[in-house]
């Protein structure tokens, strides 16, 4: 849950990038950090294994200015995507305000996407939150692979697999090239802040 500090006139909000392993969650944050580091005052924090895989989370805080006189602090997190790290994924989800589900467009990753989304639903349930109510954006990542001869899931397939019931906004993106990374961020920030504004401010 976002923390509204009435004394400091500040709102801290938590947005988590969720999805299967090697799907591009960390790459999203790295791109944001590289592109906007002139506006981000702090270092990006990453806890990863020797093989460069996320072990606990990545963390990137930044300010986006004021709404209704309140300074808005956005805190971006990623979770470790590998199945075995569910305990840490659950910890990172604690107090989440908005989620970007980063789906992998590679055809061979179809099952992992579905399992990861189901896992997200279960983990949110452990905090009595519903995947149907929380601000959520689906990012179909690695769309740059469409131009190469690598089997990629079609948009229709991804929508049917992941978004048939959710009906969440979706964005085709490439975290590697940066295509639509900022748009994804803008979308989830706007949805999350609207939700906070309606409930807290």
């Amino acid at each position: 849950m976002a923390f509204v500090n009435l004394k400091k006139k500040e709102v801290q909000t938590k947005i988590v990038y969720y999805g299967p392993g090697r799907g591009g969650k960390t790459t999203n944050l790295e791109y944001i950090y590289d592109k906007y580091n002139h506006r981000i005052k702090t270092e990006m924090v990453t806890i990863k294994t020797d093989e460069d895989r996320t072990l606990f989370f990545d963390f990137l805080p930044f300010d986006i200015g004021k709404i209704k006189g309140y300074d808005i602090k956005i805190q971006l997190y990623t979770v470790p995507g590998q199945v075995k790290y569910n305990a840490t994924r659950k910890l990172v989800l604690r107090g989440v305000d908005g989620i970007v589900f980063v789906a992998d467009s590679l055809a061979v990753r179809r099952d992992e996407n579905i399992l990861s989304l189901k896992n997200l639903q279960e983990n949110l349930g452990s905090y009595k939150k519903s995947i149907f109510n929380i601000p959520l954006v689906l990012q179909y990542n690695k769309r740059d692979l469409l131009e190469q001869s690598i089997p990629v899931l079609s948009l229709e397939r991804l929508e049917k697999d992941l978004n048939a019931r959710l009906k969440a906004p979706f964005i085709e993106a490439s975290a590697l090239t940066g295509s639509n990374v900022a748009e994804t961020l803008k979308k989830i920030v706007s949805m999350t802040l609207t939700s906070i504004e309606n409930t807290l401010l």
Partner: protein, 134 residues
């Protein structure tokens, strides 16, 4: 869990941090929730720690240690303390949902710090308990 703290609560929390902990010579103290949000902080102005990143890491760290405790059949590990060359960090749970983090140097003994943190945590408990909705 959701909670709501008004100006009066935040002032009282800051007063406890200042009088009970900061005045004994610690470098920095802050209260966070388990989601990693910073509720209140006080520091001596000399150190420039990024408390937002520290809060995120502390919440994750404490959550991981709690899970380890459960796995070995403990309710919790009550003492969580990291010792460095110049700076030490002490973590103390307040109720089930908040964490009091103290950064201090060599000039304060761990025993004394624990005593003072315990007193401050007890005061905060009374303040925070009525603010928790569920």
């Amino acid at each position: 869990m959701s909670y709501s703290l008004d100006q009066e609560h935040l002032d009282s929390i800051e007063q406890i941090l200042l009088q009970d902990l900061f005045d004994i010579g610690i470098h920095c103290v802050f209260l966070i929730d388990m989601a990693g949000n910073v509720i209140a902080s006080v520091d001596n102005g000399d150190i420039k720690h990024d408390i937002y990143s520290l809060a995120a890491l502390a919440a994750g760290n404490f959550g991981a240690v709690n899970t380890m405790a459960t796995m070995v059949g403990e309710d919790e590990f009550s003492l969580l303390f990291h010792k460095g060359q110049k700076e030490n960090i002490h973590f103390s749970k307040v109720l089930g949902d908040f964490l009091l983090i103290t950064i201090f140097g060599k000039e304060i003994s761990l025993g004394y710090l624990r005593l003072k943190v315990g007193e401050a945590a007890e005061k905060m408990k009374h303040l925070l308990e009525p603010c928790i909705a569920s």
